[in-house]
Symmetry: C2
Subunit: 348 residues, 2 copies
Amino acid sequence: MAGSFHTLRWRDGVLELLDQRALPDHVEYPVFDSARAVADAIRAMVVRGAPAIGCAAAYGVALEAQRLSAGSGEAFLAGLEQAFDVLSGSRPTAVNLFWALARVRHVLDAARGMAHAVIAERLLDEAHAIAAEDLRINQAMGHHGSALLRDGARVLTHCNAGALATAGHGTALGVIRSAIASGKKVSVIADETRPFLQGARLTAWELQQDEIPVTLIADNAAGLLMSRGEIDAVIVGADRVAANGDVANKIGTYGVAVLARRHGIPFYVACPLSTIDPKVATGAAIPIEERGAEEITGFGAVRWAPRAVRVRNPVFDVTPAELVSALITERGVVESPDYGKIARLFKD
Amino acid sequence: MAGSFHTLRWRDGVLELLDQRALPDHVEYPVFDSARAVADAIRAMVVRGAPAIGCAAAYGVALEAQRLSAGSGEAFLAGLEQAFDVLSGSRPTAVNLFWALARVRHVLDAARGMAHAVIAERLLDEAHAIAAEDLRINQAMGHHGSALLRDGARVLTHCNAGALATAGHGTALGVIRSAIASGKKVSVIADETRPFLQGARLTAWELQQDEIPVTLIADNAAGLLMSRGEIDAVIVGADRVAANGDVANKIGTYGVAVLARRHGIPFYVACPLSTIDPKVATGAAIPIEERGAEEITGFGAVRWAPRAVRVRNPVFDVTPAELVSALITERGVVESPDYGKIARLFKD
């Protein structure tokens, strides 16, 4: 894990989450002891980032099992079903959430009939396994992806696909960490990433913690910097990748990809296999979350837009596979991803 | 002029400016009585928008002449030279500033040797003429441009090229106003326009004043809306247009133009001839202003980025002429602008 923080941690029977809404000024670890509390934390973006959401959701089911394990058999199973429901309804776009819940459900199904305490323990073991795997996978992605970056590369990233978005190391920022660990000098240009400012608040802070050189820009400045030859590569994470390689990621990613193509700059997407959704044929079928107007009319307690202005706030967009130079996965780099190459990834 | 406000107004011997930093919550008209005060107001963005900056600068020279007219001949002329210097140093990118100062200097040269009070009066007359012309020119641009918009058009705009950026009516928003006045239903999608949020603060407010339907979005959402077929045209203003048709405008304009091209959406630039700089061959020669880090690390009194983060804040970019479907000028619409077509505009 990066620096001196952890995104999520199991401790004394509860889940600690780094409250990412309080960053960069305050490093706080509120604790969560039920599925509903974890779902609320996901919805409120205490924890965010597709892989971290998946880990948190798995812990959410484990917490609920622990909480209900003293109850009757029926209440226990009904309560767990409710936990799955409330967690799967927390955010719609990132597929890791559904992937992690499916893994946990598989464990639950296999343990049916066992003592509640045993089931609760197995669910917790699975949550721990998902988090530990996520860290290993990110390190593997970092290893594969770092070969794509030359010494001295200036890498643009959008949103936060870092340790803060995962159980540790990060996806996009994991590639940068691994490249630096291999001896390359790499610097980062971080899009501030309106409206939620994950780049300004999280990526800038996370990279500072590791003393990785970072320059913060308005999202609008990416095109000018590319036109001046100041960007060598783009690496972003993903919330869901369709079977054909279309990438749903933070709103604005598509614009960055279109600009990168125009300037002949490689556009990489770092995504674990858990982010690829083979059940979704193309990006057109990925649900795009729309969030509240208050994220657009201001930030936090500050409002700058006039009252009662109409707002649209879709928070993800879809980058078509043809704009993706390569997917970086734990099983290797997939150049010019398409349906066949992605299907083979899962068969290997 | 739009609704119930005026961007700049001469009143009782001083210049009133609508303080655009206080919008949308407060409509305040501080007064300015010297060239230095006007230059400070331009630099601090009390007044902004290429045409409005030009008008304000002309009034700045007139104010200085009035202020110094009781003094000696040498002090008067030296003081006016200083006024030209301080005003021309206030912002580097918008060419209307230099264009307006050149017009005022021409009047000064022609009046050399006359009584100070007469010179001061002629300079003020010229400032009034520039402002009155700007309004007429915007109405002419609106007339020509409105033919480009179909009934029901959903028009994306970036930054504020409205009445607030001019002496009235607006350039890009003037086209929309004229289209609506001609009986068409037109609605506006306003990019919030980080970092200074002219879209959220000014365009949204200005259109509300006129009851023109407006939807505010994060700059990052433009690509998604285009990919969903929710944008029919883009109209922006300009800070300087090169002799070949390259357009310097608010940072992020270039990205919008690249996306519009990808989606086959027309990209129009509304610009008076005073915004075209025939002395600059291409956009590469247009100076791009960089402003302070505090515009990126937060907004107003709020800071959201970590302390000491490195920042880049270029506030304009250049859209190459090949991406411009048409320039809308007071002399008509110039489709696919190039060197020859622009040169002919000035010869007619």
